[in-house]
């Protein structure tokens, strides 16, 4: 049999021969092309992470929610997660989260002046990696919540430098389901999350998880967060908890396995929310409001420093685009918000771009809510709360 010598040398690593370099290419051009690729990938990663954070719905929850949504056709709900500022009972934003939500220095200062309360006192769990001797520590850095949503910031730390690469964070976001159980039950609605930018070092990173759930009083609630990092690609492919859709959107599974040999087994993190005070203010309205040309009866509105929930008794046209808007306060000042995504449930659930929010919200001062078409800025709804 004959074998090609040059191909047999593919697995050989050469370090003994110095070949003379030739002027066959432009160094600047190579640098330019390389940077273009790096920038494109970085942007892609950022978008994917943002998309995961905003839009990812745990697969098995999706069906449940859709059915529930249809069942609630006469009580469709619109929820707007408002810019997170602070309330007196919330502790200072953890820096990486503050950056993510766009909480500015003014807000941080205001929070300090108003006093803060510790929510989670270093709840953490250590997980032994399967393939290496490295220990991973997962810590709940901060939790905030109101009647309709709970947001958790986890910090992942490894003993091994290089454990959390950008690739790892991107792919782990897609392939590693993380769930939250509250008081022994799954939240009845949806959840999603993703890794935020990496920290200054390369052995720790943050994970932001948000879930929508109806809890009237968080005090002493027990939160259990579970997660899994599969050992190998085949496990990922066979994992029934990962939807086929997610598998299809995950490119180059084999590459992920090669790049990220550090995988965790199942882990869970449990802690109690001892000091989480819900300051949601419910305003009973029960009046007709014109929203995007449709007359609907708004039953009530819940406002908190982290979300705005508008509940009305009829379904809106599903073609309604996400909108921006502003809250008008009793002193005449306004606080603007912008919705950056919308899932397609009959609940009409929206999230906003927190970065446009520049005030510390005192819910008792909100007198009206204005919703605008995001493109034209035309007013599509004006809801007076008084």
């Amino acid at each position: 049999m004959k074998y090609k010598i040059s191909d047999m040398l593919d697995s050989y690593s050469e370090n003994t021969v110095d070949i003379k370099s030739k002027d066959v290419a432009s160094r600047d051009r190579i640098k330019e092309l390389t940077m273009n690729k790096i920038n494109a990938k970085t942007e892609d990663m950022t978008e994917r992470i943002k998309g995961e954070i905003s839009n990812r719905i745990l697969p098995e929850k999706r069906n449940r929610l859709t059915k529930r949504g249809f069942a609630l056709l006469t009580a469709a709900a619109l929820m707007l997660s408002l810019a997170v500022t602070a309330m007196a009972t919330y502790e200072l934003w953890q820096p990486v989260w503050a950056e993510y939500f766009g909480v500015n220095e003014k807000q941080q200062t205001a929070m300090m002046e108003e006093g803060t309360t510790e929510l989670v006192d270093g709840a953490s769990v250590t997980v032994k990696s399967i393939n290496t001797e490295a220990n991973f520590t997962i810590t709940a850095e901060q939790v905030i919540g109101d009647k309709h949503t709970l947001q958790v910031l986890l910090k992942f730390t490894s003993d091994t430098p290089g454990a959390f690469t950008k690739e790892f964070m991107r792919n782990a976001t897609i392939l590693s389901p993380i769930r939250i159980t509250i008081n022994g039950k799954d939240p009845d609605l949806t959840g999603g999350g993703g890794f935020l930018r990496d920290t200054a070092d390369d052995y720790s990173c943050y994970y932001q998880f948000q879930t929508e759930c109806l809890v009237d009083d968080w005090k002493d609630s027990t939160i259990v967060i579970t997660g899994v990092f599969s050992k190998n690609t085949q496990e990922l492919l066979d994992d029934p908890t990962i939807s086929e859709e997610d598998k299809k959107t995950t490119r180059e599974l084999w590459e992920i396995e090669q790049i990220n040999p550090l995988r965790l087994e199942d882990w869970n993190l449990s802690f109690s929310l001892q000091d989480l005070a819900d300051t949601t203010k419910t305003i009973e309205l029960n009046k007709s409001v014109d929203i995007a040309g449709e007359a609907v009866t708004v039953d009530y509105i819940d406002i908190s420093p982290i979300s705005l929930y508008i509940k009305y008794n009829s379904a809106l046209d599903e073609s309604l685009e996400p909108y921006s808007g502003e809250l008008t306060l009793s002193d005449g000042n306004t606080i603007s918000f912008e919705l950056d995504s919308c899932n397609e449930y009959n609940d009409w659930l929206y999230f906003l771009d927190y970065k446009t929010y520049e005030g510390v919200l005192d819910v008792s001062k909100v007198v009206s809510i204005t919703l605008r078409d995001r493109e034209s800025q035309e007013i599509i709804a004006q809801i007076n709360l008084q």
Binding site: M1, K2, Y3, K4, I5, S6, M8, L9, D10, S11, Y12, S13, E14, N15, T16, V17, I19, K20, S21, K22, D23, V24, A25, S26, R27, R29, I30, K31, L33, T34, N36, K37, I38, K41, G162, A163, T165, E167, D202, I259
Partner: protein, 159 residues
Amino acid sequence: MDTYSSYVSTVIYNIIGQNMTREDVEETASDVFFTLWNNTEKLIPEKLKPYLGSIARNKAKNKLREIGETVPLEEDYVFVEGQNSYEIIEERERADIIRGTLNELSSTDKEVFIRHYYCYQTISDIEDETGIPASTIKSKLKRGREKLKEIFNERGVFL
């Protein structure tokens, strides 16, 4: 990138230079550095140059395969007797065999063999860089091929 772009470009050029343009070389070189950026966590600093060379070599070969071309090398085949088990040899094992074979060659023979079959240097380039006459280079390459064949046949018995 400043330090190694010439080296990487040369490795690539030796493989695709006869069939492709300068722009293709630059594009492939940028692929190499992009791959490096993607795999920084696997990098061992002391082995950066061979690592880059290996990526450059593989990417250039793949590019050449895409257009159905090959690099014309001096008798780029070794003939092994019988039903050899080469196909079932693991990659790591194959590398060990190759390394063992090369180490049994004299240092000059080994260098010439690597320059031609690994670095894809032409006989003429090797002559220019080492000062060894072309006829001697061919003899050394032949000795390398024979040694490789001999070792493969020996290993074939035991595999």
